[in-house]
């Protein structure tokens, strides 16, 4: 069974590692929602946070085609890095797949995709990773 790249950001919902939801923490006090784990509210510092499942659809706030990858990048080069804005507020950075470079647009609709990624030559390094693809 494939494990999530970060269980506090991506919860897998079946054993294939192809389905899952992004997780956020919402503050009932002030309404602010952030992507991933949080114990205290970023805005009002309340500790009274609740976990929420984030929308699987967002819009592309910005994107870049990375030609020189950071060390340890396990994917193809170049790759598209997208910053998606979710309806709940958070922006989520992830690779954008299945989109020709010329078709990328700021403001385009994107949807959550989950793929298994392994670090080159590292046994046991398979992880289910969240990505964006055109909606």
């Amino acid at each position: 069974m494939v494990v999530s790249v970060d269980e506090k950001c991506l919860r897998l919902t079946d054993e294939s590692g192809e389905r899952g939801v992004l997780l956020g923490m919402r503050c009932p006090n002030c309404g602010v929602c952030v992507f991933g784990p949080a114990t205290f509210c970023q805005s009002c510092t309340s500790a009274d946070l609740e976990e929420v499942e984030l929308s699987t659809e967002g819009t592309l706030y910005s994107f870049t085609i990375v030609r020189v990858p950071p060390s340890g990048w396990p994917g193809p080069v170049p790759y598209v890095l997208g910053e998606a804005e979710l309806p709940e507020g958070p922006h989520v950075l992830a690779e954008v797949i299945d989109c020709a470079h010329d078709d990328l647009r700021v403001g385009m609709a994107v949807t959550l995709a989950i793929q298994t990624v392994a670090m080159d030559g590292v046994a046991g390094s398979e992880r289910a990773v969240y990505k964006w693809r055109p909606a």
Binding site: V66, P70, S71, L81, L93, A94, E95
Partner: protein, 384 residues
């Protein structure tokens, strides 16, 4: 909200640099020591009179590297504090030196910084971090995302961003300390290798090595130590902030210009001046887009208009708001621990009227702004 109670007036009495570039024969301590010796000589203060020192650096070179570095100058027993605050490590060391004096604890302080940044893309997270699978831990990709969005929102053409680099090299061509001194054209910048679209290689600061230092002294103690009042430059404000939640989506994340704004407003308030009073600015131009957004966050132009000011030559030497008069990170290079103090060095040099061919006429108020990953911003204001 932090409460500030500056007490004694603080002056910068000496600045020093080790050239920025690549120095395979020299260790971190060599770069740092040379900058300190240069600053002490400039100030006229002997090392034996320095009561406290703060050392900005990021990469690990062994425990208490600040102590072992300054031990070369003599074992005086003074407190030495190692400071890591990402790209703002040097400017944070300067902030600590300022507050150490204004609070009344010390008459003088030494702030210094040095770095030997490895080649290649800079990452922030640890080796086994999930971020490595995501592909987002890439400083320049982060800037590229901001650049794309900025161009989309403001209509800034790629040539306006390239002009930031052209301007940086023009200033650096007159600066013997700069890592990159050769000038180039807008076309050269746009045709250089793409790193992360639309950011090309010449729009990214080089990773570099270098050192910088500043000696600070209370204004009321200048005579006690026989220091030259005519070359002393006043620290009108020293502001340091971490992340402020502002509800602007990703704009409270790393590299956001909105992170700089609260530090800038704090600094202007401390100094009792406004952006209209600023004669020169050194800002965090790790990439071309960074310079534009920091200019706007400092309110030197309205938001979305720094690219126009750049195109019109207003931010170049000879313009009405010269920015990064020594070449900035783009041409000086960016040794993290040193950069924030390098900005102080250039500001002091300009306000003293000692900048030679780069001299901005009648510069009386200078701002130095430095951003660091993990949400660190410093804004220091110096006045003559």
């Amino acid at each position: 909200m932090t409460q500030f109670r500056p007490g004694r007036e603080v002056m910068v009495v000496g600045v020093g640099l080790h050239a920025f570039g690549r120095f395979p024969e020299q260790g971190l301590s060599d770069l740092a020591r040379d900058a300190v010796v240069d600053a002490l000589r400039d100030s006229g203060v002997p090392w034996s009179a320095i009561p406290v020192a703060y050392f900005g650096h990021v990469y690990y070179h062994g425990m208490s590297i600040g102590e072992t570095t300054l031990a070369q100058l003599g074992l005086t027993g003074v407190p030495i504090i190692n400071v890591e605050n990402a790209c703002s490590s040097g400017s944070t060391a300067f902030w600590q030196a300022y507050w150490g004096i204004t609070s009344g604890v010390f008459d003088m302080a030494l702030a210094f910084g040095a770095e030997k940044v490895p080649s290649g893309p800079v990452t922030v997270t640890a080796e086994n971090s999930p971020a490595r699978y995501i592909g987002g831990d890439h400083m320049m990709a982060g800037y590229a995302l901001r650049m794309k969005r900025y161009m989309e929102e403001t209509g800034a053409p790629a040539s306006a961003l390239a002009q930031v680099s052209v301007k940086a090299r023009q200033a650096a061509s007159m600066n013997p300390y700069a890592h990159r001194k050769e000038t180039y054209s807008v076309e050269d910048v746009l045709n250089s290798r793409l790193i992360a679209d639309p950011l090309t290689l010449y729009q990214c600061c080089p990773t570099s090595e270098g050192g910088a230092a500043a000696v600070l002294c209370a204004a009321d103690a200048l005579d006690t130590y026989g220091l030259d009042r005519s070359r002393a430059i006043r620290v009108a404000a020293a502001a340091l902030t971490s992340g402020n939640y502002n509800g602007r989506g990703s704009d409270h994340s790393a590299f956001s210009p909105y992170r700089t704004e609260p530090a800038a407003l704090q600094a202007y308030e401390m100094a009792g001046i406004g952006p209209e009073d600023v004669d020169i600015a050194q800002v965090h131009d790790a990439a071309t887009i960074g310079e534009l957004q920091q200019i706007e966050a400092l309110h030197l132009t309205p938001f979305g208009e720094a690219w126009r000011a750049t195109e019109e030559g207003r931010t170049a030497l000879g313009g009405d708001i010269p920015v990064n008069t020594d070449g900035g990170l783009l041409a000086m290079g960016h040794p993290f621990g040193a950069s924030g103090i390098r900005m102080v060095h250039e500001t002091v040099t300009q306000l003293r009227g000692e900048a030679g061919p780069r001299q901005v006429e009648n510069a009386r108020v200078g701002v130095a702004q430095c951003s660091g990953a993990g949400d660190v911003t410093t804004v220091h204001i110096l006045t003559r």
